[in-house]
């Protein structure tokens, strides 16, 4: 083998080694890994090796998700009054933070926060970014801390799986990314802010429509139930409590149930069947504990 040939072979080996190492951690960009020569010939294309341009809901940044979530939460709070009971709010936040800590997304931009809504409607809503609401009507139907833990874990599941962000129409997201992309490293002027605000309003309307009016698709709800079982059991809550809760809702025709959760969620019967499978898949399931049932009763007792 000649010296120059061996040098060339070494170069190719080096290229392959570097790419093998880098590909393992790069999320995207395999499209440009066609040949080592292509990259070697044009260093400029390295930009697209590092990270693909933004194209889907998954590319929304953590901070953007937080700001979208804040406004979605504000819109929800313009429709429902807050139930002001500091002790109860703190208790719900503690249960919620406990299950969030055992979720697949324990860290989120500004943390998980929970509020109780002052309505007898049975409902729970999760805005992107970890701002979660549960109604008084739903709390009344919880028999114990296990049930509350599993319901909050279901909402944390929606956040962890970014179901809210998936509600944003694809075309709207494409427009937003195109606009934000060209402006990203510049300072926004008044015209840019006005255009961005219009795009932002569209994003909010897509999410609120899905959360409050239409509901997620069945697959997302089953996924959130599966995550509730997983996160709840990891925390130490008895996962079967979600089944007991859903069973109490079968055939419920009360006015409070006709709205909210029951309008936007699949039937309790179908969810029971799906959640049962998720529970069966657990290697072991925690049991209910009286210490928790007692503190739940105490927290709920003051609720008027």
């Amino acid at each position: 083998m000649s010296a120059s040939k061996s040098v060339r072979l070494s170069a190719v080996a080096l290229v392959l080694t570097l790419f093998a190492a880098s590909c393992a951690v790069l999320e995207k960009g395999t499209d440009v890994l066609n040949t080592a020569n292509k990259v070697a010939d044009d260093v400029n294309t390295v930009k697209t090796v590092g990270e693909k341009l933004r194209s889907s809901f998954a590319d929304i940044t953590e901070e953007e998700e937080y700001y979208i979530g804040r406004s979605v939460a504000a819109v929800i709070l313009s429709r429902y009054p807050v139930y002001q009971n500091d002790a109860l709010t703190r208790y719900v936040n503690t249960v919620g933070n406990a299950v969030a800590l055992f979720s697949d997304r324990p860290e989120i931009y500004a943390g998980y926060h929970f509020l109780v809504l002052d309505t007898e409607e049975v409902n729970a809503l999760a805005a992107p970014g970890g701002l979660i609401f549960v109604t008084k009507g739903l709390l009344r139907r919880c028999k114990d801390e296990e049930t509350l833990g599993l319901i909050l874990a279901h909402e944390v599941g929606h956040v962890a799986a970014k179901h809210g962000l998936q509600a944003i129409k694809k075309s709207r997201l494409t427009d937003a990314f195109m606009f934000l992309g060209t402006q990203a490293v510049q300072r926004f002027g008044p015209q840019e802010v006005a255009r961005l605000t219009t795009l932002f309003e569209g994003v909010l309307s897509d999410i609120v429509e899905q959360l409050v009016v239409r509901g997620y698709d069945r697959a997302s709800e089953y996924e959130a139930d599966g995550l509730a079982v997983k996160f709840g059991a990891r925390t130490g809550y008895e996962p079967g409590s979600i089944l007991r809760f859903l069973k109490t809702m079968v055939g419920d025709k009360s006015t409070a149930s006709g709205k909210g959760w029951f309008k936007t969620h699949p039937s309790p019967e179908d969810r029971i069947s799906s959640a049962t499978k998720a529970i069966a898949a657990l290697s072991s399931a925690p049991r209910i504990d009286t210490a928790r049932t007692q503190r739940f009763a105490q927290a709920i007792a003051a609720m008027k």
Binding site: A40, E51, A98, L180, A184, V193, L196, G236, R295
Partner: protein, 162 residues
């Protein structure tokens, strides 16, 4: 191919390789968090971290990443708190670049941000953020969660992680 061209190729390849290797750092994506002594939420912390802080990955285990900070401290962070960064990858050909990546938007603090929220508020007086701001202020510390778990005889106390 002449010998000198081979050498140039090697130099280019090494430069590209190093640029890509540099891109394998991590950036904190949550507002604030802690560098922890062990791969678990409960226990001693080593340093406060904030959004945009750059970290170097050392190893990985069960949803936790062992990292090294710019100051050289080695500790653990949950994978949900960081994102891959693309540092030092600036294209010299602007024709290739008509859009920004998520990392660039995040690091520039642009995108849907406070400025956009303020503009939205200005045109939507009917939507109040008072309770949103109060909600964000409700903070349950890790020590309180740990105490709550213990008193409720809940969970293995490791916390978080796939």
């Amino acid at each position: 191919m002449t010998k000198s061209r081979s050498v140039i190729l090697i130099v280019v390849v090494i430069a590209v390789g190093l640029a890509i290797a540099a891109a394998q750092g991590l950036v904190v994506k949550v507002q604030t968090t802690q560098l922890r002594a062990n791969p678990q939420f409960f226990g001693p912390t080593l340093a406060a971290l904030k959004a945009g802080d750059r970290l170097e990955k050392v190893s990985e285990a069960n949803g936790w990443i062992q990292v090294k900070t710019a100051a050289g401290t080695i500790g653990w962070i949950h994978s949900s708190a960081v994102t891959q960064s693309t540092v030092a990858l600036t294209s010299t050909n602007q024709n290739l670049k008509t859009q920004a990546t998520a990392s660039e938007v995040a690091l520039a603090g642009k995108g849907f941000n406070k400025q956009v929220e303020d503009s939205y508020k200005a045109t939507h007086a009917e939507v109040s953020f008072v309770w949103v701001d109060r909600m964000i202020q409700i903070r349950i510390g890790l020590a309180q969660v740990q105490d709550f778990l213990a008193k409720g005889r809940l969970a293995g106390l490791t916390g978080g992680g796939k």
